[in-house]
Structures are given as structure tokens and as C-alpha cells.
């Protein structure tokens, strides 16, 4: 039996400069928030998202873009897969350190 899907996808990738997890946003930019991600509801939409991802790769903005299946849960968009939920959420440990920006200069700022 085919796996049941939500039919909703967002396009994700990592920023080339720092590897940060981002989503293609409604305004055409890249955001770390899934809330403002542009969503694909079918194959044509998905192909358009992927084309934008490929363009962003050529422009050296992001690396390794791919579609992520998402669903509406508890009033917000969340990825279906555990791995993708972890990518958005960040490490669940070491919060003392992982809430810091990188480097002393950034901390001072």
C-alpha cells in the first residue's frame, strides 16, 4: 500500500556560508522559519520550488536543497519526518551553549 502523504511540501536547504537550515519563503527569500515557507500542493508546485532551489544553488546561496513533507499540527506547520523536525528545532541538549551565537565577537555584539 502506498504511503499516505499530506501532499504539502516545503523546500529546504542549508546556507552555504554557515550551514544554517533554511526554507524557501513566500517572498522568494530564504528563512529559518517554516511558518513563512512557500508550500507546494502538487507535482507542478513542487517542480517550481525545486527549480528555485536549483537557482539558489547556482547563485551560491544554499546547498543540497530538497523537498520536505509538512503537515499542520497544533496550529503550526511541522515536518512529518523526525529528522526534519530536529533540523528545525536544533539540538535538544547543551542549550546553555547552543543558544549562543558563534564566537566571542558575536557574543559581545
Amino acid at each position: 500500500m502506498a504511503k499516505k502523504t499530506t501532499g504539502l511540501h516545503a523546500l529546504t536547504g542549508n546556507l552555504l556560508a554557515d550551514g544554517r537550515v533554511v526554507f524557501l519563503a513566500i517572498n522568494g527569500g530564504w528563512s529559518d522559519s517554516l511558518d513563512i515557507a512557500r508550500l507546494a500542493r502538487g507535482e507542478n508546485d513542487a517542480a517550481e520550488l525545486e527549480a528555485e532551489g536549483a537557482e539558489a544553488v547556482r547563485a551560491n546561496v544554499i546547498v543540497d536543497p530538497y523537498l520536505v513533507e509538512v503537515e499542520v499540527g497544533q496550529g503550526q506547520l511541522v515536518p512529518v519526518e523526525l529528522r526534519e523536525r530536529m533540523r528545525i528545532r536544533g539540538p535538544s541538549v547543551n542549550l546553555e551553549f547552543n543558544s549562543r551565537p558563534n564566537g566571542q565577537a558575536a557574543i559581545a555584539a
Binding site: N14, L16, A17, D18, G19, R20, V21, V57, R58, A59, N60, V63, D64, V80, E81, L82, R83, M86, R87, G90, P91, S92, V93, N94, F97, N98, R100, P101, N102, G103, Q104, A105
Partner: protein, 551 residues
């Protein structure tokens, strides 16, 4: 004290310059990601779940105070103020930015460090017993041979694109503290009746989805044949290794497919064919390398210290720490201090930059400027005078580094898991934290005794779960983490692969299941048996019955 020689220093600086150019070309779009990926991996730079990760080599786990301070500086200046010491005696930074990496590598080069051969299908940095050179039970320091292998394998054109990554470990003692039978090649240094050095050679061990213990292919390999013989092994691997299937490409699969006897015969044939001259440097060069590992200037001391005896009597916490964390040194009056990076409920192997600096200060003041990293994700001060143990303990306590739990239930190995790793299928660290809290009360841990719990967040087994007395493998099913338990594994000289006991457990039930296993052991052990001894006597059944009856 070990350091790279002038040739290596120049080579590392050139590599930094080369990588700086590659990063600039990547940023400018002159290199695509497909072109850049192998170049960054050759310099230890991965792209993980949330960010880049830089893996820095710590050759044979040996560091000076100056090098440790540099690691702390990098953690503060380019990362988030901490680092993660790994099961291959490396350190990983979880948050470097790509444009900063050439500068980070430049800082590392200033202290003769780098990230070369920490990734890719090459011979990875060689690991060794973390007590090498100081252990009371050692035949000879294995590190000069590890260094010889590093020099031989670095950028070796024949072995830069192997079928798969290749890991070598070497120990100089009968006791195996380097898990040699879980490596592609494991070497045990020994001496013959004439007092000449040689090696017992094991090939084809590994963790991963197909755990295997390495087979002994030579009981005795003369020291001067070492590199020629290793080259013969690598050639057989290079020729027959499964480049068509990455899951079958490790040498363990080849050894298994051919059979140890046939594999060994092919190696011997290649070894004989290669013939003279052996690719071994002369005595002078070996002595030059060995000089980098020469013992530091030890004082002539009495082995006993009356003041230490008094402190041990008066300070029970100190005595408990000495009992678990201090090991026998080969030189009278000295001791090996094992610093636990496993605080109760903490993250195995993590150290803050402040802690790194504190350990560097202690190494300078009390350990003849030496620090070691163990494959069990702890730190070692290898040269502490017994009369200084109390001062070292007090100072460690000020920095949250005085947990007296080496080798106990809370001394858990855990990979970064799904909190950081792009390959992981489940989290490892929170599981380690739960178990550590559950079993970590000091009296409880001591009552349980020697116990190795090892946790991996995926089938790749970076957390060495196959070698755990209690091993835990994190998997994902329908969007939820669950955990398989194996029992009876060991990475020491009595190496064994753990056996799966049955269906997995949810993250909520896992630490309870582990506690049930531990309680079952405490109940059934006889005459001071360790967990492993008891398990080997009774098998898995009593543990399975107890666990599945209650969880």
C-alpha cells in the same frame, strides 16, 4: 613531547593556504558543491544537520597544554564555547562558519595540528592506547609506530581513494585499551624471547551495520616488516574491495567473503612478492621519531607518599576518586589521572572552553605538559606525581571535572546522534543523560561496579554500541525514536559483539529497561563477577525475561 617535524609543519601550512583558496573559489561560485565537497571533507569539514562540523585530529590522543589552549581559543572565537571529544580521540566543533574554517585551520597549524585524514576513504588518523608510554603494563610505547604509519599513509597516492575509510589502532599492552579488534587493522606491540619488537596483526574488524571482530592474520610480524606488510594488506583491499557497494566496501566484508585464511594467504603472497627492500626507514630515522615520544623528565621519587595516605584516609570523596580515576604509572611516585567528561546527567565527551583551559593549566602545573584524549571520550593527565593528586582533584572539582566514575555505569560513550548528526536516526545524548541520572548516584554506581554502556544514534555505530556491555542503538519508526538493546559486547582484550535481546524500547521506557538489566545482574552475580563475566556465564535469557516482563 610529540610534535610534528619541520616537514609536516610546512606541509600543513601549505594545506591551509590551499584550502583557503578552495573556500574562496567556492564562495565565488568557481567551484560547485559537488566539486567542493570532497575537498572540504579532505580537510575534516562536514555539513551536518544544523551547521558545518569540523573534526580536528589529535594524533594518538596526545596534546600539550599549548595545543589544548588553542582548542579552547577556537571554541570561543569561532564556535559556541565548547567542543566534543570523540571515540576516535578527535575533537569536533559543531558550529563553524565556512568562511572562518581556513582561519581555524591556520590557528591549528600554529600548534602543529590539523584536520587532514579525519574524513574520506583514506587511512584515517591512527589511534593508540591513551595511556601509551606511561602504563605500568606496557611492553613498549606504540606511538612511534603510530607516527610512522601516519607518515607512511599521509597523502599516500595509492591509498588516498580506497574502497572505503580505513582505521588502524595500535596498543603496546596485553590489555587492550584501543579496541584493536574493532578496527580495520589492529596491532598489538609485543616482544619475542630475544627482546626484539614485533606485532600481532588483526585485520577486518569494525562496527557499523555489520559488526565483526578482526581476525588474527599474524601472531608475529617483525618490526622491520611493518610497513611492507601493511602495504600488502592495503593492496589486497584496494584490489578486491567492493567499490560497487558502499555498505560492503569495508575490509571486514572482504575478509569475511574470502575467509580469513584465504585473505591472509593473499596478503602473504603480496608481502613475499614485494620482497626487499622493505619500506622501513633505518634505525636512525626510527630513533628520530621515537625521540618525539621520549619520556619527559621524571623526578626520582619514592612510590609511596605519607601525605597522600593521610588525605586518602581523611577525605572519602578524594579516596573514591582515586579508586576509580587514578591508574598505575610505569614510573615510581607517579600516577595516571583520568578526567571524566561524563558528569551525571551531562553530555558524554563535551568540554567547555573554560574546562579545556583548566585542564591545560593542570597539565602544565602537574602533568609535565601532557594531556591525552581517550576513545572513551575522557581526558587523561598522564604524568601526575602522587603527592600532587589531592591538589589536582581539588582543582578539577572547581571546574566540574572531578566525577569519580571512570569505568562505571555513568561513564557512557555516546555519539552526537540526531541532536547534531546528519546520518543519525535517533538521539543518543538525551538517552545517555537519562541513564546517567538513573544509575549515577555514587553508592549505586559503585555497587554495580565496572560497566560499559555505549549508545549509537544510528547503524553506523560511532557510539560503539556493539562493544558495550549494554549497547543501545537508536532507530526511527513512524516518526518516533526507539532503541534496540544489545548485551555482552566488549572492546577490550576479550572482545565480543553484543547480542540483540529483542524488540526495541521507546525513549520513555529505555532507561527503565536498562535499570532492570542492571538490577538483574546485581541479583544474579556470583563472587564479585563483573557484568560481562555474569552475562557470559548465564547468557541473555534472565535479562530478557526480566526486561520484557516489566517493560
Amino acid at each position: 613531547m610529540y610534535r610534528y617535524d619541520e616537514f609536516d609543519a610546512t606541509f600543513v601550512r601549505q594545506r591551509v593556504k590551499q584550502f583557503r583558496g578552495q573556500v574562496e573559489r567556492r564562495a565565488a561560485g568557481e567551484l560547485s558543491e559537488d566539486e567542493f565537497r570532497p575537498l572540504r571533507l579532505m580537510n575534516g569539514l562536514y555539513l551536518q544537520l544544523h551547521a558545518y562540523m569540523l573534526r580536528v585530529a589529535v594524533p594518538y590522543g596526545t596534546l600539550s597544554a599549548r595545543q589544548m589552549r588553542k582548542l579552547a581559543f577556537i571554541a570561543d572565537s569561532y564556535d559556541r564555547g565548547y567542543g566534543h571529544f570523540t571515540t576516535r580521540q578527535n575533537i569536533q566543533y559543531n558550529w563553524p562558519r565556512l568562511p572562518d574554517v581556513p582561519d581555524i585551520l591556520g590557528h591549528l597549524a600554529e600548534v602543529e595540528m590539523h584536520a587532514i585524514q579525519t574524513s574520506g576513504n583514506c587511512i584515517r588518523n591512527v589511534t593508540a592506547d591513551h595511556w601509551a608510554g606511561v602504563a605500568a603494563d606496557e611492553v613498549e610505547d606504540p606511538r612511534p609506530y603510530a607516527e610512522l604509519m601516519r607518515q607512511w599513509s599521509s597523502l599516500h597516492p595509492e591509498f588516498s581513494f580506497l574502497p572505503r575509510k580505513f582505521k588502524i589502532a595500535v596498543t603496546g599492552s596485553q590489555a587492550d585499551r584501543a579496541a584493536i579488534r574493532y578496527h580495520d587493522i589492529g596491532l598489538r606491540l609485543k616482544k619475542n624471547t630475544q627482546g626484539e619488537a614485533g606485532f600481532e596483526v588483526f585485520v577486518g574488524g569494525g562496527m557499523g551495520r555489520t559488526p565483526m571482530l578482526a581476525a588474527r592474520v599474524r601472531d608475529w610480524l617483525a618490526r622491520d616488516d611493518l610497513l611492507t606488510y601493511l602495504e600488502a594488506i592495503m593492496r589486497v583491499f584496494n584490489l578486491h574491495g567492493r567499490r560497487d557497494n558502499k555498505y560492503k566496501a569495508r575490509i571486514k566484508i572482504l575478509v569475511h567473503a574470502l575467509g580469513a585464511e584465504e585473505f591472509s594467504a593473499q596478503v602473504e603472497e603480496e608481502f613475499a612478492r614485494t620482497g626487499a627492500p622493505r619500506i622501513m626507514p633505518g634505525e636512525g630515522e626510527l630513533k628520530r621519531i621515537a625521540a618525539y615520544f621520549a619520556p619527559p623528565g621524571y623526578d626520582a621519587l619514592r612510590d609511596d607518599d605519607p601525605a597522600l595516605a593521610l588525605r586518602l584516609e581523611k577525605h572519602k570523596d578524594f579516596a573514591g576518586w582515586v579508586e576509580r580515576n587514578v591508574s598505575a604509572h610505569g614510573v615510581p611516585g607517579y600516577a595516571i589521572v583520568n578526567i571524566s567528561l561524563k558528569p551525571i546527567g551531562g553530555i558524554p565527551g563535551d568540554a567547555s572552553a573554560d574546562q579545556m583551559r583548566a585542564v591545560a593549566d593542570l597539565a602544565e602545573s602537574f602533568s609535565l605538559d601532557e594531556i591525552r584524549i581517550s576513545h572513551e571520550q575522557n581526558l587523561v593527565l598522564p604524568n601526575v606525581r602522587k603527592r600532587d593528586l589531592f591538589a589536582v582533584w581539588l582543582s578539577l572539582g572547581e571546574h566540574g571535572l572531578a566525577d569519580a566514575n571512570i569505568g562505571l555505569a555513568s561513564d557512557i560513550i555516546a555519539c552526537p546522534g540526531l541532536d547534531y548528526c546528519g546520518l543519525a536516526t535517533a538521539r543518543s545524548i538525551p538517552v545517555a543523560q537519562d541513564i546517567s541520572k538513573r544509575l549515577g548516584e555514587p553508592a549505586r554506581q559503585r555497587e554495580i561496579g565496572d560497566m560499559k554502556i555505549k549508545i549509537s544514534g544510528c547503524i553506523n555505530a560511532c557510539g560503539h554500541h556493539h562493544a558495550g556491555h549494554i549497547g543501545i542503538l537508536g532507530l526511527e519508526k513512524r516518526g518516533r525514536e526507539y532503541y534496540q538493546i544489545t548485551l555482552g559486547g566488549s572492546g577490550d582484550e576479550s572482545a565480543s559483539v553484543g547480542e540483540i535481546i529483542g524488540p526495541g524500547f521507546s525513549s520513555e521506557n529505555l532507561s527503565g529497561a536498562v535499570e532492570t538489566i542492571v538490577d538483574t545482574y546485581v541479583e544474579l552475580r556470583q563472587n564479585g563477577e563483573t557484568f560481562l563475566e555474569a552475562y557470559r556465564r548465564v547468557g541473555p535469557e534472565p535479562f530478557k525475561e526480566a526486561v520484557y516482563a516489566t517493560h
